[in-house]
């Protein structure tokens, strides 16, 4: 089984320091980058799948990111991925979802895989549309919101449990296919010391737009379909009222507040 995992480096949400630069784009220098949370679930799912049939199997990370991204990719390599492909090009600064999907699709076209896995969304953009767009560009079956992934290599097909409002839908499609992944697939592993050591010598291939045969003028900030027009800081929440006392007193205060705000 050959799997490609789409990994996006994002500003660490736990740092709480994300901000926009003067150009209205995310200021990536302001905050340390980490692997997007949902992409770690995708990677964990990939590592479990290849462990079932290691022969001829591998996991390739694919990322479109600034040239500093290898640092972030190393952590994902340390979890056990085989290699990384980093698409990086100055012209990609300010790329929107349309460009991102086109570029990732072009990079995937060069790779051989049975499954491509992505996260359902990202903590910086929270768009949640890139994976469906990549699948559409490539004419790949798209199975989304996966809580379980069951490939059948002999039949060259994959079954996915897609989370639904009342349970799940069992989906099936031929491979190769693209799957978007949720936390329900299982907790990502921590890199082992051995994994961290091994990751240092793993290959990260850099690809430019020219390598992918994409004209610089057709992607990136210059042709972005969307633009930030303005920002505002939402009004701060009021001060917190802290109540200590008996449980009944605490409960009464809650009831009073809810009644005053017409919530009950």
């Amino acid at each position: 089984m050959r799997i490609v995992v789409l990994i996006k480096p994002v500003p660490d949400p736990a740092s709480a320091g994300e901000r926009l630069g003067p150009d209205g784009r995310l200021d990536r220098a302001a905050v340390p980058a980490v692997v997007n949370g949902n992409d770690e679930y995708a990677l964990e799912a990939a590592l479990k799948l290849v462990a079932l049939a290691p022969e001829g199997s591998d996991v390739t990370l694919l990322s479109m990111a600034p040239a500093s991204a290898p640092e972030t990719l190393r952590k994902a390599l340390a979890m056990g991925a085989t290699r990384g492909v980093l698409v990086t090009d100055p012209a990609l600064a300010g790329a929107d979802a349309v460009s991102t999907a086109r570029v990732l699709a072009a990079a995937l076209r060069e790779l051989e895989f049975d499954l491509a896995l992505a996260g359902v969304d990202t903590s910086d953009g929270v768009g949640g549309t890139v994976s469906a767009a990549v699948a559409a560009h490539l004419g790949l079956p798209f199975l989304s919101y996966a809580a379980r992934i069951e490939p059948d290599e002999a039949a060259k097909a994959v079954r996915v449990r897609r989370i639904s409002p009342t349970g799940y839908d069992l989906l099936e499609a031929p491979m190769p296919a693209l799957i978007s992944c949720t936390q329900a697939l299982g907790e990502p592993r921590y890199p082992s010391l051995k994994g961290i050591m091994a990751a240092r010598s793993k290959e990260i291939v850099s690809r430019s737009l020219a390598d992918l045969g994409i004209d610089q003028a057709t992607v990136g900030g210059a042709v972005a379909t969307t633009a930030v027009l303005g920002t505002r800081t939402p009004p701060a929440r009021g001060a917190t009222e802290i109540v200590r006392g008996t449980p009944a007193e605490g409960a009464s205060r809650i009831v009073e507040l809810l009644a005053a705000r017409r919530l009950i």
Binding site: P13, D169, R232
Partner: protein
Amino acid sequence: MGALWVVGEPGPEHGLARISTEIATLVRDLAASSGRDVVGIVVAADPGEPAAELARYLPVVFAIQDEAADALAWSSVAAAHVAALATADAPDLILAGAGPDGRDLAGALSAQTGLGVLTNATGVAWADGGPTVEMSVFGGKLVTTSGFTANRGIVTVRPNVATATPAASPGRIEPRTVGGPTLPAVRVVERVSEAGTAAPIEEAKIIVAGGRGVGGPGGFDLVEQLAGSLGGAVGATRAAVDSGWIPYSQQIGQTGKIVKPELYLALGISGAIQHKVGMQTAGTIVAVNRDPDAPIADFADLLVVGDLFEVGAALLEQLRGRSG
């Protein structure tokens, strides 16, 4: 001048998703400010009921009948029809919900049409010849207003942005057929309902959420009783979900759902940043926690310091007393 389209998404019992009625309500206001027509689009194996429901909100609904919309994953089937229709009719704005179906649709539609996407709108307005979209970013720290450079595009809209209100009189339904490229088929083998699936949290006006402090699956009984008494849904932290006390569908936060209820009652929840980003725009936040220094003390409106079982039981009693 292109129209404004609302794509109706599938809801329970072969009906229409509630989010689509909210977006339809929102877009009626845009029709006035933009001077454009608004159109609903339903793609379904049997579009009768969802199209009629959407037509309660909009003057015109295009109904596209396709068996595949039920037998195959809906978004790929719907995206192909809407893309073909969009190529012919060139709408200025296509709206869908910011949930799984709407996002999957928007992504595929964007690839097929080349239109840009603005996601998770908390407000949509019209200015200088095009739509402008408000979004809450960086876990609610900042609100951005964005537009499309070509003044046309696709927008996904969060739940509870508008209150669904039917139009004064129902609109007409026009059956449509469009030919165009299809997307690869993803077969729906079966749809499985899981016992005990709780009410969806994205649309709930009141959420009572439990965290690690609830202590076990049994602890969620109290959370559920309070939710029932307040007419709300049950939410949870990842710690509670990872412990297997409640399904992932109820998780709120960075890798769960982002919610904006009028009331968020947090029981035994510390308020870690990954949880906070999913709920901090709630109207009123009330927390019960025995630790007065838990991070949630920094962003709750009211923190009751105490044992959640004791305070919860007292609250339940007082709420029942009021309604009784």
